[in-house]
């Protein structure tokens, strides 16, 4: 169990680092990257939850949740980047 715990704690640390940077940075790109670090942390926690010891197969539910979460995260990132690009174009005009 300790190995899974190390992964889960790493995930928690990543999450907190991401939150900190999302709130403190000003420019959009670093904030967006920080959000993705946040997401990676959350997903790492989910994946480490799936481990149930060497004798049992891994729990599929957290894996399914992570897949859904990834799709949401990537669409949201794409939307934010598109909005940012539109803003840049407006600034250039």
């Amino acid at each position: 169990m300790t190995q899974a715990l190390i992964y889960a704690l790493t995930g928690a640390v990543l999450f907190m680092l991401g939150v900190r940077a999302t709130l403190l940075r000003d420019a959009l790109l670093p904030r967006l990257l920080a959000l993705n670090v946040c997401g990676a942390g959350v997903f790492l926690i989910f994946v480490s939850l799936a481990y149930r010891g060497d004798s049992l197969p891994v729990d599929p539910v957290p894996h399914a949740l992570v897949l859904t979460g990834l799709v949401v995260a990537i669409s949201a990132t794409a939307l934010a980047l598109a909005l940012n690009r539109r803003l840049r174009e407006m600034a250039d005009e």
Partner: protein, 484 residues
């Protein structure tokens, strides 16, 4: 018969796909899809009123493995509000966007927003709630920047980033719950969750994430720019419905799932933040120079009132007294939903006619747009909480809960907040009913003025005279751990 439960989600989703495939007919599809969703919600509500809470296991997979949709009193009330408001706003939007080139985009996103809202109110599974929250957030962000101005894009981008952060916090709470209890089904969790570090941490993270989305002070700063720069129909649903969705989730979590974890101190902290929101939001609304900004700050204040109920609910023993207070909270949320959407639609009518929404230059509104000026006054009655509006009854119950629990600290907050709401409403009406040429010459009543006045009438008359229905519906719960 239980299969009815899929329709409030399926109808708007299918209409959204149709609108995407057939952009030239998108207005018709949008209005018709909204009307059919309204019908589906009415049918579901009738069934809940007649035979109690209903459940649907999607695809025949039992909850635990599959995911469940559930409808009970609270979700039916929220559904009815959201579908009635969206029907009125859809009629208004069919005029507002009739000549816009963004028409087809608007209707697709509009129907997706309704889908996400309905799925959220019906969801019986924590992870599904996360997905619907994200769908709601994403469609709301794109709708908010449809105006295309620099300010609206900037505000929408900020809204998106903060909303994502909120969802991440919610998701990590979901992970903790799964780690602790091995299920995400809310009915099973309502029984299983016990007080302990896991439950406590999960509740804090999920509540924290939802507080960003419900814009409770001091996490409200994204709301005024996002809501005031969006197109009028979008502002109306953002303020009336989208903010309420996060609040609905907080209620579900606090009262049904985590009822054994919630402490008086935690509830008191949220109550205090709510109190500051009431005072600060009302003060900022009084200072606002633009009509839509005033409405947005007033939303910050009204959300604050709803959080004042939490410490009272936590202090009251389970039973009739608590159900009465909970009913008052829901009634206040519903009244605000109808009143604020009416307010934003009226502001939209004025903006289209006058080309601006500067409050100090609104002289002549009452002569040029009598119906719209009347709408502003009616919505103002509901925002202040004067009789016979629903919020009058709700605030009356709020005060009696204060007396029962002896939490006197809320008394001055409610009094000052109500006075400030009166001040900002009458300041606006003073300008709107003054003579002047700010809005242009008098014309006949337009089709776009009717939906707003109907919404305002629901807030001030219907919810006031038929409020007992709210109190009858609220105790019907699908989650045994909550009210029983």
């Amino acid at each position: 018969m239980n299969n009815l439960l899929i329709w409030p989600v399926a109808v708007p989703l299918l209409s959204a796909l149709l609108a995407l495939l057939w952009p030239r007919r998108s207005t018709w599809i949008g209005v018709l899809g909204t009307a059919l969703s309204l019908l589906a919600v009415v049918l579901v509500s009738r069934q809940v009123i007649e035979s109690g809470a209903i459940e649907l296991a999607l695809g025949g997979w039992s909850p635990g493995l599959g995911i469940a949709l559930r409808a009970d009193g609270l979700s039916v009330l929220m559904l009815l509000m959201s579908t009635l408001v969206s029907m009125a706003v859809a009629v208004y939007a069919s005029v507002y966007f009739s000549r816009s080139e963004r028409r087809s985009e608007f209707w697709v996103l509009w129907l997706l927003l309704i889908t996400a809202l309905h799925a959220l109110f019906l969801s019986g599974d924590l992870f599904n709630l996360y997905v619907t929250l994200e769908l709601l957030g994403l469609s709301a962000v794109v709708l908010a920047c449809l105006g295309g101005s620099r300010e609206s894009l900037q505000a929408a981008l900020n809204y998106l980033v903060l909303g994502l952060l909120g969802s991440m916090a919610f998701l990590i709470g979901v992970a903790l719950i799964y780690a602790g209890y091995g299920t995400l089904d809310m009915a099973a969790l309502a029984v299983a969750i016990e007080s302990g570090p896991t439950a406590w941490l999960a509740l804090s993270l999920m509540t924290g994430g939802l507080l960003i989305k419900s814009a409770l002070f001091p996490l409200h700063f994204w709301l005024p720019p996002a809501h005031s720069n969006a197109p009028a129909p979008v502002s109306a649903v953002l303020s009336a419905l989208v903010v309420k969705a996060a609040l609905y989730l907080i209620l579900r979590l606090w009262l049904a799932l985590f009822d054994e974890v919630v402490t008086q101190t935690a509830a008191l902290i949220l109550g205090l933040l709510g109190g500051i929101a009431v005072l600060w939001g009302s003060w900022a609304a009084l200072q606002a120079e633009r009509l839509k900004l005033m409405a947005a700050y007033s939303t910050v204040a009204q959300v604050g009132y709803l959080f004042l109920f939490l410490p009272l609910l936590a202090a009251l023993p389970e039973g009739t007294t608590r159900d009465v207070a909970l009913g008052a909270l829901v009634l206040l949320a519903l009244t605000h939903g109808f009143a604020k959407s009416a307010f934003f639609l009226a502001a939209g009518v004025i903006m289209q006619r006058a080309g601006h929404d500067r409050i100090a230059e609104l002289g002549g509104t009452a002569r040029a747009l009598p119906v719209t000026a009347f709408t502003l006054a009616l919505a103002g009655v509901a925002l202040i909480g004067l009789p016979p509006s629903g919020s009058f009854l709700a605030k009356w119950q709020l005060l009696s809960s204060v007396f029962i629990t002896g939490q006197w600290i809320w008394l001055p907050v409610i009094a000052i907040g109500t006075l400030l709401a009166g001040a900002y409403t009458f300041r606006l009406l003073g300008y709107a009913f003054a003579p002047g040429e700010g809005v242009g010459p008098s014309l006949s009543v337009g089709r776009e003025e009717i939906p707003a006045v109907l919404l305002a009438l629901v807030a001030t008359l219907v919810l006031g005279f038929w409020a007992s229905a709210v109190w009858e519906l609220v105790p019907i719960s699908a989650y045994a751990g909550g009210e029983g």
